[in-house]
């Protein structure tokens, strides 16, 4: 057991695949040794190419669907986790963590109470806080959210990968990688989001001066602007005292701070993050939470769904295995005369077994490999759609779970296909020859 744990993860997974396939490999060795059934197998494959093709397609589709679903689910999980990666901790007014996370990380804002300037300053001036970004939601441009924040957050979010330059004026903007504006574009944001957005509510123009690299999160579609301008556009104070009107970014004067629904906090270290969470978790005043934890709670709830899905996949695979078996019985009927001929000519039973089994194995292996490819393709297409719709970068990949599933399916069906092969041997040669 210690030996097993000492293996690298890839080593364990590879060994599992080998262990799953080992029984079939042993059978293959026993059935095929010293025989050359391949020319005949090729002949049979070609003779019944249409039936074989349909058979392979059925296996490929059913394996592909199962694989695709599992791969997609994992991709979605990794994608959402990746999207939340930059959001170590969020401080907001007490309420639903899920709602706040959806608003701040996934830019699905809803009406939430605001935090005032005193709290913001307390967070931002905390010695263990690196970045504390206020967020200002509410406007959009051509469906892309226009979000007010501070320059430090844009730098942090993009890891300083900014094409063009940072804003220097309240009405300059930085575009996300997938935002519908380019450097140099001038736009007027609409008030609100989606169909209810009012394009004529504002008249102030923004100029896009920079564009950040792809983050794999919904922030890629966002247009980021100085939060001062968002407040100003909505007729609010801009966070700074009149004598400090020219200032852009913190520190803010609590008296002129209109409020923020959420503060994205980056602490100096992981222990600091935990310390800050307890410090800013205050009944009826503030709530502090880790989006990563909210997501894993969500995954845990969805874990049951995943389990149900896995069982469904397994049941489907078993049904497919059963129909594969039935199909092989029917297919082997198609060439019982050729097989009877071989026995009449003096072929040992093992040779006939080898022909039928190799034939079945060719169909099963082809189907399973195509299924793996199809599953990857399905997951890739679904991922692209999800990425397009949500801007959460979901990447399809075939993981060990899928490979193990396919290996188990393949091994089980390969062993089961000995049954139809064996049943062929039980037909009397003479009656088969004359049929």
């Amino acid at each position: 057991m210690d030996w097993w744990r000492s293996l690298p993860a890839g080593g364990q997974d590879t060994l599992i695949v080998v262990a799953l396939l080992l029984p079939s490999l042993i059978v293959a060795g026993l059935v095929l040794s010293r025989l050359t059934p391949w020319p005949l197998v090729r002949a049979l494959l070609w003779r019944f190419r249409w039936a074989n093709g349909v058979f392979v397609a059925l296996i490929a589709i059913s394996v592909g669907m199962g694989i695709g679903l599992i791969a997609q689910e994992r991709g979605l999980r990794q994608g959402t986790a990746q999207a939340a990666d930059k959001f170590d901790m969020i401080v907001s007014a007490p309420g639903s963590e899920l709602t706040m996370m959806l608003a701040a990380v996934f830019l699905q804002p809803s009406d939430v109470p605001l935090l005032d300037g005193e709290i913001y300053n307390e967070v931002t001036n905390h010695p263990r806080v690196d970045v504390a970004a206020p967020l200002g939601f509410g406007d959009s441009y051509e469906g892309a959210p226009v979000i007010g924040t501070i320059a430090d957050f844009v730098t942090y979010l993009s890891d300083d990968r900014i094409e063009g330059r940072m804003w220097q004026d309240p009405f300059e903007a930085i575009a996300g990688a997938a935002a519908p504006v380019d450097i140099g574009d001038v736009f007027v944001p609409a008030h609100g989001h989606g169909a209810s957005a009012d394009p004529d509510a504002h008249s102030d123009e923004y100029t896009v001066v920079g564009r950040i690299a792809r983050t794999g999160s919904p922030w890629d579609r966002a247009i980021m602007v100085p939060i001062e301008s968002v407040w100003a556009v909505h007729g609010l104070a801009d966070g700074h005292a009149p004598e400090d009107e020219e200032r852009l970014g913190p520190p803010y004067d609590a008296a002129y701070f209109p409020g923020t629904p959420a503060i994205v906090v980056r602490a100096e270290s992981l222990p600091a993050t935990y310390a800050l969470r307890s410090e800013f978790s205050r009944d009826s005043e503030t709530m502090a939470f880790f989006p990563g934890t909210v997501l894993s709670n969500l995954y845990r709830v969805m874990g049951d769904v995943r389990q149900a899905m896995s069982i469904l996949t397994l049941v489907t695979q078993m049904l497919v295995a059963a129909s594969v078996l039935l199909g092989l019985f029917i297919l082997s009927r198609l060439f019982r005369r050729q097989l009877a001929l071989l026995r009449a000519l003096g072929a040992p039973a093992r040779f006939v077994l080898a022909v039928v089994w190799s034939y079945a194995a060719s169909l099963l292996v082809t189907g399973a490999v195509l299924g793996l490819a199809l599953g990857y393709g399905t997951a890739a297409v679904l991922s692209r759609i999800v990425t397009q719709r949500t801007d959460i970068l979901v990447q399809a990949s075939i993981g060990w779970t899928e490979i193990h599933l396919v290996a188990a399916f393949l091994s089980a069906t390969l062993l089961l296909s000995l049954i139809p092969a064996w049943s062929v041997l039980r037909t009397p040669v003479m009656s088969a020859l004359r049929s």
């Binding site: 025989l35 050729q338 026995r343």
Partner: protein, 225 residues
């Protein structure tokens, strides 16, 4: 060179699926190198007899002895080995693998016989195809004429140099001219090596060239010709 095998049949009885006796033959002795024609109306048991002599019949009693081998006392695997070493079989409708070429069909035994003999089988198959005038083109036998196909089948039956050749209506699917040509080829191949030939047939021209004839009616010997 392999020795010819004398055939001895004693009290052979083959029953059908419902237990009814469909063939009975009290006694038959055949010297090595004899060509035996089995004739009789359809359903008389001609095929049953020759398959029984090849060790292919089920529900069979009595003794079929080739040389020192009591075929019916052997299990299916040993009988198969006996056929793959000693017996060449030819069928009415050729039973070739249509997707394979002439050579691959003629040398099909090389796919399951011991490795050491495979080269000899392939070489013999090629020689036979050449001698029988079958084109050894790369194309599959599906495009061959009936006569050519049956000659491929003859080459297959002889490629492992068996001393026993058993043929079930070998000319029935061929037109007259091709049937006569095949009869010539088959008899030449059999005679030159002193092989025993047993043919079930309706074809009078083929039967006329046999050394002995055996007539079956309703599963029993009618007369020896």
């Amino acid at each position: 060179m392999a020795e010819g095998l004398p055939l001895t049949v004693r009290d052979l009885a083959v029953s059908g699926e419902r237990g009814r006796t469909i063939l009975s033959l009290a006694s038959l002795d055949l010297a090595p190198g004899t060509a035996l024609g089995v004739e009789g109306p359809s359903g008389a048991g001609k095929s049953t007899l020759i398959y029984a002599l090849a060790g292919l019949a089920t529900r069979v009693e009595g003794a079929v002895t080739w040389g020192r081998t009591d075929l019916l006392s052997l299990g299916p695997e040993a009988r198969a080995r006996f056929r793959s070493e000693r017996v060449g079989l030819i069928f009415q409708d050729f039973l070739l693998f249509d997707e394979l070429g002439a050579e691959a069909n003629a040398a099909i035994l090389a796919s399951f016989t011991p490795r050491t003999g495979r080269g000899a089988i392939r070489g013999q198959a090629r020689d036979l195809l050449d001698r029988l005038g079958v084109p050894r083109a790369a194309r599959t036998v599906a495009s061959y004429s009936g006569g050519e196909r049956q000659r491929v089948a003859v080459a297959r039956a002889l490629a492992h140099d068996p001393m026993i050749v058993i043929a079930d209506e070998p000319t029935a699917a061929l037109h007259r001219q091709a049937a006569d040509a095949l009869t010539d080829d088959l008899l030449t191949a059999v005679r030159e090596r002193g092989r025993t030939l047993i043919v079930a047939s309706h074809d009078e021209r083929l039967l006329a060239r046999m050394d002995r004839r055996l007539r079956l009616v309703d599963g029993a010997l009618a007369e020896a010709a």
